[in-house]
Structure formats: structure tokens, C-alpha cells
């Protein structure tokens, strides 16, 4: 009984690991964003950096390496995620996050251009590994609020929080 389970899990893990198709991304029109007009280039850069942040997050949580968050996260978001990774490492847990779909909407661009807020309805799979053994795999659909702020070379996620649907 155990053997088929292990095989299925392994297959799933392999598919999970290898199946790194880029997530489907849909972006809502941004006509109503305010109070600062959002230029197309800025919007593109913000969305690119936000999606990259998911990839960085995924690697950091899978390898329990908080330093992988550095390029994409800053401030409170980075601190919280890094703390979670430390908790994972302490308890011998790793988690695999694979985002498969994003439905993005830019909802706020602050007047001085120093913050931009996104709402992301995201679908992702989470796999929990304890002592490198897969405990469960779950598909999640959640709504995230993210605030990004500009840094020297790119936008970084400063607030990253799921909200109840």
C-alpha cells in the first residue's frame, strides 16, 4: 500500500519540480488607477518584478534560504518571509510553492510614485515536506495584496499578504 503511495508522490513531485511552465498571467485594465497616472513601462516593470518575486519566494521556501528573498523583497514582507523560512528550517520543514495562474489588478499608484499596490488572485500548489518527505500537496486559490516600492534598479515587494475572499 505504501509503495504505490510513494511512487505516486514521487511522480507528482517530479511533475511538480519539472513542470515549471510559466504561470498564466492576466492583468486587469489599469484605467482607473490613481491618484498618479500609471505609465505602460512602469506597469510592465512592476508586474514583471512581482512575478519574479514569486519565483524568488518559491526558491527561498523550497531551499530554506532567506537570502534568496533579497533581490525581490524588502522591508516588512522580507522580514516576515525570512522569519517563516527560519521557522521552517528549525522544524525541519520545507515547502514548495508553484504558482500556476495570476489575475492581477493594479489598484493604487501613490501620488509621489513611491508605492504601487496590486491585488492578485493567484492559484498555486503547495507541497509540504517534512524531513524531505512529502506530507501533502494542496492546490490553493487565494487573493493577495502586494505593495511594491521602487529601489535602485527594480520594484521590490514591501507588503505581501493574503486576504480572505
Amino acid at each position: 500500500m505504501k509503495r504505490p503511495f510513494v511512487i505516486v508522490c514521487s511522480l507528482f513531485a517530479a511533475i511538480f519540480a519539472l513542470g515549471s511552465d510559466p504561470p498564466a498571467v492576466r492583468v486587469e485594465p489599469t484605467d482607473s488607477v490613481g491618484p498618479r497616472p500609471l505609465e505602460k513601462q512602469t506597469r510592465t516593470a512592476v508586474i514583471r518584478d512581482y512575478l519574479q518575486a514569486w519565483r524568488g519566494l518559491s526558491g527561498a521556501f523550497e531551499q530554506n534560504r532567506a537570502d534568496l528573498l533579497d533581490p525581490d523583497f524588502v522591508g516588512a514582507a522580507k522580514e516576515k518571509l525570512a522569519e517563516t523560512i527560519r521557522e521552517q528550517a528549525t522544524q525541519g520543514i520545507r515547502t514548495r510553492y508553484r504558482d500556476s495562474a495570476h489575475d492581477l489588478q493594479v489598484v493604487f499608484y501613490s501620488p509621489e510614485g513611491l508605492s504601487i499596490q496590486l491585488i492578485d488572485t493567484v492559484e498555486y500548489d503547495v507541497q509540504i515536506l517534512d524531513d524531505d518527505k512529502v506530507q501533502t500537496t494542496q492546490h490553493v486559490r487565494a487573493r493577495y495584496v502586494a505593495v511594491l516600492t521602487p529601489t535602485e534598479v527594480r520594484w521590490k515587494v514591501r507588503i505581501f499578504q493574503a486576504e480572505p475572499k
Binding site: I93, T95, V107, S110, P111, E112, V145, E163
Partner: protein, 291 residues
């Protein structure tokens, strides 16, 4: 022999029954939990299991006894977000999910007030953006009223209120007509954040100079340079004196010191001397008595 075997089988079944029962269990999860508050998770069944509470904001792993209530003390789960709860027994796994929401009571504000320095008398020149957080640095997504107040030595107090939307509220204010420091305060309940801004003189509006002989040369000096609201331009502001005379020109960029700019220029009869600062041009003097 046969009865002995039947007894043994029966004993085995009886012994194995509780164990078999212990392999099955279920989770009773709260729908939402406020960050930092106490809550509990009820499991059913018998035996030992491991409970995982996994989210991007926090991870908890506990050994639990099935059938007992697992309690979480206040502060145990303090990061808002979506959490998976997984109960892993010896041969079965139960899953569930719940949300942790930010506390309703605002605990801290991130107040982005720009700019820190601006010219006087500018309409909507000041912007303030507030992100409202609870005590655990979770963004308070529930609508909240924020009040903004701009006050200081330089003019009447301006007040605005705004409601947060997705945790953020913003406003714009005018700068006062008089230079000096102003305080810009954002307040939500008991939480407040203050920024200091400097209002500086605007573009020059009054630029006049005079000239007098100084030995072989000509001493030129401005009156105190002011903007259109009567604020004196700060020291260090560059004033350009240009003297045009027959076939030649002399220029010198002089900083204001104690409100005035002064320098010496060559004394040529009939020379025209003009003064400017930035793109603003002041008066012109023709040396030789004519003005």
C-alpha cells in the same frame, strides 16, 4: 487446536481495532482568525499525529493527540494570510485551510509625505499616503478613516480625512504662502505619524540693484531679493551681474549673502549692467548717470 487459533484471531482483532480506529481522524478549523488572537483546532480519532499550520507568514508544527483540542495561545499566529492546516497521522492525512486577518485595531502607520522641501504657495504641492498596519505589521484591509493635518508657523491649519481602501489612504495639500517648517500629521485612532516639511521661497519676483564707484571699479549691489510672497531668497542663491560695454562684456555669478549680492565690476562709461537670478531678470543700469 482450532479453538485456540480462533481465540488468537479474535484477540488480534480486538487488539487491532483501536489501532485501526486511530488511523482515521478529522479537523475542525475556524473559518477566519484575527491575528494574534487565541484559537483552537479540534481533531477527532485516537492516536498520535503531527499538525502542520503552513502559510507564507508563519509555519507551525505540533505533535498532537488525536481527539483532543489543539489550542493556540494569543500571539501564536500573528501574521495575516492564508494558512493550510495538515494533520498527518500514521497512515492518513487530513487537510484544511483558514485565513488569518489583520487585527481591527490599527497599531502603526507608514506615512509617506512628500516632498520634504517645497516652494511656498503651491496648490496640491504636498502629498500624503498612509498604509495602516496592526500591531503585528499586518496591513489592515478593513476600511478605516484617516485624518491628515498640516499645521505650522507658516499659515492656517489644513485638515483632510480619507478612508482607506485595501489598507491605503491618501491626500493632497497646498503649501502655505510663508516660508518655514510645517508639520504634517496622519492619524488613525490612537496611531499617529508626523512628518516635518520645509517651505522655501519661490521664484524671485523682486530683483533690483544699484551701482556706485569703488576706486577704479564699480560696486554693484542688489536689494534684498524676494519672491512674489515677500519671502527673502536664501543665502547662496546665485545672482548674475552682466556688464555690456562697447565691444565687450563682463559676467560674474555671485551668491546672495545676508540677502544681498554684491560684487565689483569694471567701470566703463556708457556700460549697461543687468542683473538676473535663474530665469528672472531684474533691472538694468546704464553707467554714466543714466538709469
Amino acid at each position: 487446536m482450532r479453538s485456540r487459533f480462533t481465540f488468537l484471531l479474535g484477540a488480534l482483532v480486538i487488539t487491532a481495532m483501536p489501532l485501526a480506529l486511530a488511523q482515521t481522524g478529522s479537523l475542525h478549523l475556524p473559518g477566519t482568525v484575527e491575528a494574534g488572537s487565541a484559537f483552537s483546532i479540534q481533531s477527532t480519532g485516537n492516536g498520535n499525529a503531527v499538525l502542520y499550520i503552513v502559510g507564507l507568514g508563519q509555519v507551525v508544527k505540533r505533535k498532537v493527540q488525536l481527539g483532543q483540542t489543539v489550542s493556540f495561545a494569543p500571539g501564536d499566529l500573528r501574521s495575516a494570510g492564508h494558512y493550510l492546516a495538515v494533520l498527518v497521522g500514521d497512515s492518513s492525512t487530513e487537510n484544511g485551510a483558514f485565513d488569518v486577518t489583520a487585527a481591527h485595531q490599527p497599531g502603526a502607520l507608514s506615512f509617506l509625505a512628500k516632498p520634504s522641501r517645497l516652494a511656498v504657495d503651491l496648490h496640491d504641492g504636498i502629498s500624503g499616503v498612509v498604509y495602516v498596519f496592526d500591531a503585528f505589521q499586518n496591513l489592515v484591509l478593513a476600511t478605516t478613516q484617516v485624518s491628515f493635518q498640516l499645521s505650522g508657523v507658516a499659515g492656517a491649519t489644513q485638515t483632510r480625512t480619507a478612508l482607506t481602501h485595501n489598507g491605503v489612504a491618501w491626500t493632497k495639500m497646498d503649501s502655505a504662502a510663508k516660508e518655514g517648517s510645517v508639520q504634517f500629521v496622519a492619524r488613525v485612532g490612537d496611531a499617529a505619524s508626523t512628518r516635518v516639511m520645509q517651505l522655501v521661497p519661490g521664484n524671485p519676483c523682486h530683483l533690483r540693484m544699484s551701482a556706485r564707484p569703488s576706486g577704479q571699479r564699480l560696486a554693484v549691489e542688489t536689494e534684498p531679493v524676494r519672491d512674489c510672497n515677500g519671502n527673502a531668497l536664501p543665502d547662496g542663491t546665485i545672482v548674475t551681474f552682466t556688464e555690456r560695454y562697447k565691444g565687450g562684456e563682463s559676467t560674474v555669478d555671485v551668491p546672495l549673502k545676508r540677502g544681498v549680492a554684491r560684487t565689483d565690476m569694471p567701470a566703463y562709461g556708457g556700460a549697461k549692467i543687468s542683473v538676473a537670478t535663474g530665469v528672472f531678470v531684474g533691472n538694468e543700469i546704464r553707467w554714466g548717470g543714466e538709469r
